[in-house]
Structure formats: structure tokens, C-alpha cells
Subunit: 255 residues, 4 copies
């Protein structure tokens, strides 16, 4: 049986005159697009174009919801009240859904962005607030997040589908956790090495940790980045290596 | 046969710590709520609450779309490119729709706000951009606007439903146009006089112009205001006078 | 010798169409105006008007700097990087200074607002970032804050003047700390009681804590609120009681 | 006598995670930096860094004031009320001044950006509003703008210094006006041709119009662009050609 995996990336993060990433190139690589929803990035025209291009290429669209903080690009934790966070997630979900609706597709999953992603990995109140929004909006929408996170736990407790992701270019420690960006080994930058790691994650469900030991990794989707020219090259190398290794690419959330 | 009319008002225009208008009082008056969508007013939590309260009272929800300008409250014309305006309207429609969806209702019409309202009354490019958004989103959604406006003409040409509105407290000239706010007679402030005018608009399809002549007025909805305590009193007087005159209140867009 | 005290309040917190507080009434009460700087509240026109009115009445202007978060009114802690917080404070200081310059006055002190106020009371990195901005901008500007706070400690260590404030309408515990808003006794609402407490704070340097004991309080300025009609009445009662008790009102930062 | 000219460019237009232009490269080319002030572009940290780098290289700093419209990058005309525009310009001037103050320099001129630039070229009310801000703030600050514009006329009438600029890479018509961007000949893209034109503008005070005739041009500063890699190459070619032609570079506003 052919092993399959999903590749996801953050797209639609340009804003007005400011361009971020090469979305067209990344849409040739990934099977799932985490499209920004305007709160941390992504003006309305960018969202509409990104969703239209994703739909044309058969790439599944997910809502990349974030904190309301353009100046901080959603990378600063905000102590937003749970009720407000739930409403903010609903607002973003609906805004992106309108773009999907006019291009014949729909929002098929939800992935928090930046500081919201790292916060809902551990903060139960904010995790519950995000889950409450998705549960109220569409109980069939999966949440894409970190294995073992408060977010996926809250989603599972609420009966929502969950999808665990691994990171193509991040280092892992011996307990299977991401190495902090402030520590050595946090990032793997060599395209060939990243590609090999992803193939192994998929075929063997293992990755080599920073201390050299092997750790088990159970991911339904692998996150790649596309915000720099180098990142696009790495993502392309991952895609090519998976094809070469006989791994199929398939979105986790289907039409 | 009992004559009927719809009463509409702008609601959901608070933002964060700033409260504007007495939405609860106005929801007892109107049959249609033009709910702000976050671009000129209305944070996500306010939108959600406003939609929920409207739904509880059986008040129909419309999307009050505006320019992206919180500091100007959407009251300053912006020369936004048509493509961007279309995307901005879609974004706002979707955001409000999400709030409707989680409260068991839906967006049932669209009304531009403030400077966008006055601009699309005459500017064909911006009018077409708003209509393009609604046509792409849901061809059954009526546009609520000024009789004779570029907006309603563009909507009709596109095959979308249109709804003409009159203003309870605004003066009309002998040609049936609104008197400019910079000229005398622009505003009628006495509650009893406003109420009498609205009853006559509905029963006789006529209103007394500033020059004393009678002009014909053909409106499916009458706009009342609620942004000051005095305005709420006027709106309430209108509602009471209509009831007293045997005029029924019925939303133009129904479930 | 006549005892003297400064009364300060948050002003200039309207934004565009949204009005907050009765600034004109409060300018008759206070000797120091903490004027918002546009990041959490206060559009440019509001800032200019508020500063002009304060200058006319001889009320001293301070910069009420906050997080960049209109939707949250600066009441949500944001994990902003120290370098960015320093730049944000400089930006706000300069913006308000321009308004002062064109009305013949100047910014004479700095007081953090909302969540930034409570954060810099305990967070040394953010406190140092605020102090760094003031030290770079004008080493003669005092920081107004909570006695014992990280902010005042950092300012003192940097050699900047500090001014300790007490709160007219907040409860204190037996250790002289503010009672949390989530606990009973956090707020004193009776105007006469608030006025009596402030008179005693000034004349005896003591206040009755929630447990009935007396605690010492050493404040150079007392903060009153004006964001509701009731709050204005309390503030006015405080001013009247101080006058009646022979306490002089004098700004801590002078021309 | 050696002819001299000033070269100016828009800098400091990055925002949060979004980078625009190569400011370091352009600071090696220009003598005057039009630094964004946060309303159309430029977060506080970007402003501070840009001003610091300009100061290090002896590049003069001007305030590039714009409409309050990040999503539109200040490129959309907004019908802002004159009183509000004056306050917005003051706010931006002061914010940038604070960054100058902490790096030992100061704001030395004002240049409107984008749609505000083209609006104040013809709109007397908005031109007067910008001039009113500068006149209130510092009567010694020159306004940099289009020769024959409403802005420079209003500034001159108010007694403020004015500086006329030419555009290195824009086509001119036989009357010395800029060719609209919607018409052929609006942009000159060949670096050598642009450089030749600028040398001739400075040495002969003439440029070849799109119809082949020569027109007189009287500019104290020439605007170059740096928002694309190609633009930086053009700007560098201009600087080199001026040096080769024996033209000195000198800021029009000096310490």
C-alpha cells in the first residue's frame, strides 16, 4: 500500500502593497493551503486571489486564523478574553468562507497562526475559545495543530476532528517536542536533509532528535514554509523526495 | 387590505470599549437591522451579540457594508479600486454571515453605509463593484438603497432584487431628492412630525417637500436612526404612529 | 503649611465617531491630564482638541501611552518585544508632543495605560522598555505609576524622576496593594466615601484597607475616573472635599 | 561653479513582517530621505531604524506624511475633513520627530505621499490643511512637492519655504506636466536613459517631453525610487551619472 501524506503551508499573507512569500510556487508544492484571514495578514483581495488559485490547482483551503495584530504579524501573544477570541475566530472563518464560496470551494479546516498557535498549544482557555468557534460554526471542520497540544485535546473533547502536524524544517528533542527557536538545532536548513527527514517521518514515523536518538512522530500533515526564496526551494525538495520515495500526496481534508 | 412597511436602522456600531447607540431599544422598534461588519464599526463580539439579539426578536439581519476606515467611521469617501471594493464587500458579508450562522439566522440583504452609501448612489464604478460582490455571493440577496441610485440601477441590471428606502427624519425637495445636510430643512427633529410624515409616506405614498409641495415617494422600507437618545424617541414615535394608523410592520426580506 | 495634591485622570479617549467620557467636565476637576496617544484610543483630532482645552485651563498634559490595540482599548496584555515597545512609546510621545507644541504647551510626564500599566508594574522587560523610551526622549520627564512597581524601580535606577499615585476609588489590602477587580471591595462607589478616603490619603497618608486596618499610602497624585456620568460625580466630590479640607490642588509636574 | 542637486527617495516603508525596498542601498544614493510616518506605511521600529541609519550617513530626514490607510498604502484618495487632515499631519510629524530626536537629528522637510501627494497638487482644501499643520508646527520646514501644485502655492502664500521636485523616471508632456500612468511614456525604465535625463535636468534645466520637444524644468530635488531591485539600479545609475557629469549632491535642507 502506498503511504500518503499532506503538505501544508501558510499562504495569502501579503497585505496591500506588501508582498510576502511566493504563493504561486507554493501552490505547486502543497496539498493544503493555510490561508490568512485578514487579522494578522491578508487583505481581502489577496484572500480572494489566493483562494481562487488554490481552487484552480485542487489545493484544499484551510482558515489560518490569528490574533488581530497586523503590526505584529500575529506573532505576539495577546491576552484576549475567550469570548472575544471565539468571536474573532468566527469573523475570520466567515470572511474566508465568502472568498471560498465565490470560487466554488469552501473552508475545510482551521489552523491557528503564529502566537495563537503556540498559545493554544498550552493555554486551555484560549484553546477552548478557538474550539468553541469551530464547534459553533461547523462541527465537521478539523483542527490542524501540534500533537499533544491543548488545542487538539480541547477539540477531541468537544468531538471535533483533529489532525496532527509535523514540521519539515524544525528540530525535535528526545521527547518529540519542537526545539525552541532560541536553542541550537531549532532549524534544519539543508534542503536534502529536510527532504530526507520528511520521507522518514512518513515512511517510518520517526525522526532523528537533536541528541541523535530516534523519536516517534505521528503526523497526518507536514508543514513546509514558503516565505523566503530558500524556503520555497526546501519545500520543493520535500515534494520531490516524497515522490521519489513513492509517497503519495493527498490532502487530509477532502472535497 | 392593511398597508405594511419595513423599518430599518443601523445597529452593531459599537467598537471595543466604545458604545454607540442603544441597540436593545432599537431592536424593539425595527423589523430590519443593518448590522455593521467591522470595517467602519463593529468588533466581532459586538457583531455576534447584535445578530443574536436580532434573531431572538425576529428582526431580519442585513449586512451594513462600509469603507475600511474606523477613524472616519466610514463617512469619508475612499477612491478604492473596484476589484478591492468587491473583495472588501465579500469579506464583510462573510464575516457577518458567520455570526448569523452560529445564531441560526442568515444575512438577508445588503445596505452600504455612510460615504459608501452616498458614493454608490452616483458613482457607477463603485456601485458595480458592490453589486458584483453580492451577485457572486448570493443572487437572492436584495440591495437596500436610494430610489434612483446608481446602486439600485446596477443591481437591477444584474438581475438582483432591489429595495427602495425612504428616510423618516430627512427633508425632501420638490423632485423627491434628499435635501443636503448643509441646507435648511435637511433634518426633521420633532418626533410627532416625523411620525406623521412616515405614516403619510406609507398610506399615501407622499411626503411634503421643503417648498411645501407634495412629492410622491415609493419606499419598501423606512430608515430610522438610533444613535442618540433623541433618535430612539423619534424611532419609537414612528413605530407607535404606524401601529395607531393601522399600518403593519413587516420585514421586506423574510425567512 | 497647606497640604497639596495632584489629581490625574485619563482623557482624550474618544475615537472618531465614538465618544468616551466627559473631558470638559473632568478638565474642571483634575490638575494633570493623562492624554491618550492614538494607540489604544484617541484619534489625532481628539488629541489636538484635548491638549488645547487642557492648556486653556492650565491642566498639565501627560502622555498616556498604551499597547497598539484599538479593538481591545489597550486592556489586553501584548507580548511585544522590548525594542518594539520602546519604539511604540517614542512614537506616541512624539505624536502627542506635536499637539502640545501647536498649543503652546508640552508633554510633562508619562503614564502607561491599561494592560501596559499593570504589566509594567511587574514585568521588568516591558518596564525597562518604557523607561528606555523616556530616557532617550527627555530625561526630565517623570513616570507616573504604582508605588513599588517595576516601572518606578526601573525609572529610578535609570535616574528618571518618578511619581507615585494612589487610586481614589479602589480598595486596598492590608499590605497597601490594590484589591483585584475580581474580588469584593475592589471598588468604592459612594462619592462621599471616596472623597473622605482621598482627603485622608492626603492629610494622614493613610487609607482604610478592606480588612478594616489602616495602611500607609504615599502618593504624589491621586487618580480619578471620568468615563461614566457617575465617575464624573465622584471626581467632583473628591475635588470639593479636598477644597473643603483645606488641601490645595497642584500639578506634580509644572511649567 | 559646480551645479548641485538633491536626490530624494521614499524610505521606511516596511511594516512589521513586511519588507519594502532596500533602504540601506538607497541611503547610499540619496541626500534626502522621505521617511514614512506610520499612517500609510512604517511601523515605529522601522521609523526609528531608518532615521538612525539616515543620520549615520548624513542623509537629511523629511516627513513623508500620508493618508491613514495601511491596506491602501496611502494610494487611495480619502475625502478627509481639513481639520482632521491637519491633525493627522501633525500627529505624523511629531511621531517622526521623536525618532529624530533620539538619534540626534530632526525632521527637516515635509513631503506628502501617494494619493495625498496627487490630491494636494490640485485640491486647495487638502493642500491648505497640510500647510496649516506645517505652519503651526514649524514655520521653517519646507514643503517638497510638484512645481505649480496647489500645495506649493498654499505654502508660499502662507510664507513657508517650498522646494520643487522633478521625477527621474517619469515622462513629461510638452507643458512640463507628468504623463499620467495610464498613458504611454509615463515611465522611463532604462537606467542609462534615466541617468541622462537627470543630468540634463540639472545642467540644462530641460527634459525631452514625450512628443520629442524640449521643456524647461526647474527642480531643487529629483525623486528616485527604490521599491524594487530594478529601481535601486536606476537610482544608482543616476547618482553615478551625476558624479561623472560633475554635478554635486547636496541636500536642499541642511543642518
Amino acid at each position: 500500500m502506498t503511504p500518503v501524506i499532506d503538505l501544508n503551508a501558510d499562504l495569502g499573507e501579503s497585505f496591500g502593497a506588501w508582498v510576502l512569500g511566493d504563493d504561486d510556487a507554493m501552490l505547486e508544492v502543497v496539498t493544503s493551503a493555510n490561508v490568512a484571514c485578514g487579522f494578522h495578514a491578508g487583505d481581502a483581495t489577496t484572500l480572494r486571489r489566493t483562494v481562487a488559485r488554490a481552487a484552480e490547482r485542487g489545493v484544499v483551503v484551510g482558515a489560518q486564523v490569528g490574533y488581530h495584530d497586523l503590526a505584529g504579524f500575529g506573532r505576539r501573544r495577546i491576552d484576549v478574553a475567550p469570548e472575544d477570541l471565539t468571536a474573532d475566530v468566527l469573523y475570520q472563518l466567515g470572511a474566508l468562507e465568502a472568498m471560498c464560496r465565490v470560487t466554488g470551494t469552501r473552508v475545510r479546516y482551521v489552523k491557528p497562526h503564529g502566537a495563537l498557535y503556540t498559545t493554544v498549544a498550552v493555554d486551555e482557555a484560549q484553546a477552548a475559545a478557538v474550539v468553541a468557534a469551530v464547534a459553533a460554526y461547523d462541527r465537521s471542520l478539523p483542527l490542524l495543530g501540534l500533537p499533544g497540544s491543548a488545542l487538539l485535546a480541547a477539540a477531541a473533547a468537544e468531538g471535533l476532528p483533529t489532525v496532527a502536524e509535523a514540521f519539515a524544517d524544525r528540530g525535535y528533542d528526545a521527547d518529540g517536542r519542537l526545539v525552541s527557536r532560541r536553542e541550537p538545532g531549532a532549524l534544519v536548513t539543508d534542503p536534502a536533509e529536510v527532504a530526507d527527514r520528511v520521507v522518514r517521518m512518513v515512511r517510518e514515523r520517526r525522526v532523528t532528535a537533536v541528541d541523535g536518538t530516534d523519536v516517534t512522530i505521528a503526523a497526518d500533515s507536514v508543514c513546509v514554509h514558503g516565505d523566503t526564496p530558500g524556503a520555497v526551494a526546501v519545500a520543493t525538495a520535500v515534494r520531490d523526495a516524497l515522490a521519489h520515495a513513492g509517497v503519495g500526496l493527498r490532502p487530509f481534508a477532502g472535497p
